[in-house]
């Protein structure tokens, strides 16, 4: 940021190339986004590795891993039923990736000079890709198990014919909107939250730079606000991961156990 007066909260969402000068439209370009995805992957693998001690009486680390897997396992089992175990790997992948991306993005790594934290899930290219994967799984399972009968998902059971004709298109539209809404939620939550953190973080700097008592007071106020916002961000990060996993499981349930 060149001048103190200019706040650019969008800068944190910029994708920059690493190891080359310019962004190029090629799949293999390594960017800060790719770097933080790998960081997230590393955190997940290291954390999950600790759950492999397989002790009868688990230590804290193993117990945490077991709580996490048990939590996601519960989501799939309660939403889908006994068949839910088949879908646990994807639901778990989506859950931990969104959760850890949100949390890694909320860590104040910027206090390390030269470090530029990046929230992977603040990119809709990421969240929408994930929701499209979930949507494709739903379609694949639905048509694989039920064939064209899968279209009966849009027809409410037991309703009189005129209502069926009226409801079916609405159901169809709401079904087609699912991948967009599913990916929009985590993206918007991270996007909005990080803009707020950025703006109020700049207020602290500007308040201190003003050098007046009023400026200092505003800076202190903004600092308290940011502390609370950060806590809220952690909560929202977990909730968004839970919502994504839960909705994925519920959508898969529609296809798995067609009414």
């Amino acid at each position: 940021m060149a001048t103190a007066a200019k706040i650019d909260p969008m800068h944190q969402f910029m994708i920059a190339p690493l190891g080359s000068d310019q962004l190029a439209a090629t799949p293999f370009q390594f960017t800060n986004s790719a770097l933080w995805m790998l960081v997230v992957l590393g955190v997940i693998v290291v954390f999950m590795w600790g759950g492999l001690k397989r002790q009868l009486v688990p230590g804290r680390w193993q117990a945490s891993v077991e709580v996490l897997t048990g939590f996601v396992d519960n989501i799939t089992r309660e939403s889908i039923g006994p068949a839910g175990r088949k879908y646990l790997p994807w639901v778990f992948t989506a859950f931990v990736f969104i959760l850890i991306s949100n949390w890694v993005g909320a860590m104040p790594f910027a206090i390390v000079p030269g470090a530029h934290p990046f929230t992977v899930t603040s990119q809709f290219s990421v969240t929408w890709t994930m929701s499209v994967i979930s949507f494709l799984i739903v379609l694949a399972v639905g048509f694989w198990k039920h064939g064209l009968h899968f279209f009966s998902l849009f027809v409410p059971k037991g309703a009189p014919l005129p209502i069926k004709i009226f409801i079916a298109p609405i159901e169809f539209v709401s079904f087609m909107v699912r991948p967009f809404s599913l990916g929009l939620r985590p993206f918007v939550a991270m996007f909005a939250g990080h803009i707020l953190l950025d703006v109020f973080g700049n207020f602290i700097v500007q308040g201190l730079n003003a050098g007046s008592a009023m400026g200092g007071f505003i800076a202190a106020l903004c600092f308290v606000f940011i502390v609370m916002m950060s806590a809220l961000e952690l909560l929202i990060g977990a909730i968004q991961a839970y919502v994504f996993a839960l909705l994925t499981a519920i959508y898969i349930n529609d296809a798995e156990n067609l009414h």
């Binding site: 969008m10 910029m14 799949p27 293999f28 790719a34 492999l52 688990p58 646990l88 290219s125 994930m130």
Partner: protein, 164 residues
């Protein structure tokens, strides 16, 4: 909004790296680690429920043993009570027998003593009569100078003694 303005340039690398990372998580964590962790949890749950069942079985066994022991103890108590009762009864009867035997012995002794006493009294009375008669004869002889025959003196003494 960089997410939109950069999209044309970055979507390929974003997809590439995202699918790579998600694929790695899916394969290594979702299919590799998670089932093992779940298996560990299932194993532990099975072990815990097996342990609980075993504990329940042992408890039932202990209960049964205790009940059997209690029954045995109760039986022994009852037996002991019967034995004690019998012993008490026997000793009571024994005592009674001995007491009655002693009573009988005492009674015969007392009877014999009474008889002896009676006889002694009778002979003493006879002697007194004889002495009284001879004394009366002597008195009569001295006072009246009359000779009283012994038979009449005896009759008079017996009459006086029976009046007395």
């Amino acid at each position: 909004m960089p997410q939109l303005s950069q999209l044309a340039l970055v979507y390929q690398s974003q997809w590439f790296w995202l699918l790579l990372v998600l694929g790695a998580i899916y394969v290594f964590v979702g299919h590799g680690i998670v089932p093992k962790v779940e298996a560990t949890v299932d194993l532990r749950d099975a072990q815990i429920s097996a342990d609980l069942a075993e504990a329940e079985r042992l408890r039932a066994e202990a209960d049964a043993t205790e009940a059997a022991w209690r029954a045995k103890i109760n039986e022994a108590h009852a037996d002991a009570q019967v034995l004690a009762h019998e012993a008490k009864d026997r000793s009571l009867r024994d005592t009674e027998k001995r007491v009655s035997a002693a009573d009988k012995k005492l009674a015969t002794k007392a009877e014999e003593a009474a008889k002896a006493l009676d006889e002694a009294r009778k002979s003493a009375l006879g002697e007194i009569e004889t002495m009284a008669a001879s004394a009366a004869r002597e008195i009569v002889a001295r006072l009246a100078g009359a000779e009283v025959d012994e038979k009449a003196a005896r009759a008079a003494v017996a009459g006086a003694l029976s009046r007395a």
